[in-house]
Amino acid sequence: MRPGRRPLATLLIRLGNNKEVTTAPRETYRDALSVALTVGAYGVAFGAAGIAAGFSVLQTCLFSLLTFTGASQFAAVGVMAAGGGVASAVAAATVLSTRNTLYGLQMAPLVKAKGLKRIAAAHVTIDESTGVALAQTPRGVAAMRAGFWLTGIGVFLFWNIFTLVGAVGAKALGNPAAWGLDAAVPAAFLGLLWPRLTSGFLRIVAVVSMAFALMITPWLPAGLPIIASVLVAFVCGWRER
């Protein structure tokens, strides 16, 4: 689930000042729980990917606890699995997580958290918590705030449990290729990419990025073609369409 690109902060501030703060409706709890469970279950795939990339069970679990932003976690272990360097792995994961800054911008006036609570809010600021919060807009600001926290904490809980399950499971299986785990990782990336391709233009950007990454692969050290694909985003996004 992905929120709209349009900044909603102004609207949120206006809603936040409304004194008529209602309690969160049951639908908000249902939305949050169903998203937390389904998305959390993807943690199995990450657990397996971490092991397939050569990380230990402890390290794989720490990724889900500390990094806690799915696509970036996959990117970090994926670049290492592809034989890339430390800098490439960290850069790919970091660049991939920049959208979380935009989510934070939209959530800050809503959660209005200070101190430790703000740290916690930032940590659970991900696609899903932002998406569920924005989806609650018609139900009022209390529902949005509840949606943000319930989804953020819910995904955090299930994502970490299922990461452990996936990591321990993959460790028990042995050779990643024999169990298809080496194909499960690119399939997971394709699964993360697919729902974002909502227009013909975005599908073209995806195909161009794939072609570009393949073309430059023989000329660059492993991992760098992934980072270099950001150039495609710059070129395609430079001018208004």
């Binding site: 792995a89 930032a122 600021t125 298809g180 399939a187």
Partner: protein, 104 residues
């Protein structure tokens, strides 16, 4: 992969990704309001995830390699096209890829 390298990746990725999340709670919204920045930022996940698909599915070290993983990717694409849920896509790709791997 050396143990040290894997710990550095874990530590640096976690620290930077958290800093990027926290940034949104501190900077004024107008700093990121430029339409060009918004357009590019929206395309970055698509470009990176696309590159990761091919880097993980069609590349071995620094050369393009077609092997059992491609079978898994084709199945994944088919399942996504048929609107299958994410876990089905991942498991489907793994099973088909493993079968092709063992046939060789």
């Amino acid at each position: 992969m050396s143990t040290l390298a894997s710990w550095i990746v874990l530590g640096a990725t976690s620290a930077l990704c958290f800093a990027i999340k926290l940034l949104g709670y501190y900077i004024p919204e107008r700093w990121l309001a430029h339409p060009r920045l918004q357009r590019i930022n929206a395309l970055i996940p698509i470009a990176l995830l696309s590159a990761l698909v091919v880097a993980e599915g069609l590349v071995a070290k620094t050369h393009v390699m077609i092997d059992h993983r491609l079978a898994g990717l084709v199945v994944a694409a088919g399942l996504l096209f048929a609107r299958a849920p994410f876990p089905v896509v991942v498991v489907g790709a793994a099973v088909v890829s493993a079968v092709v791997f063992h046939l060789h």
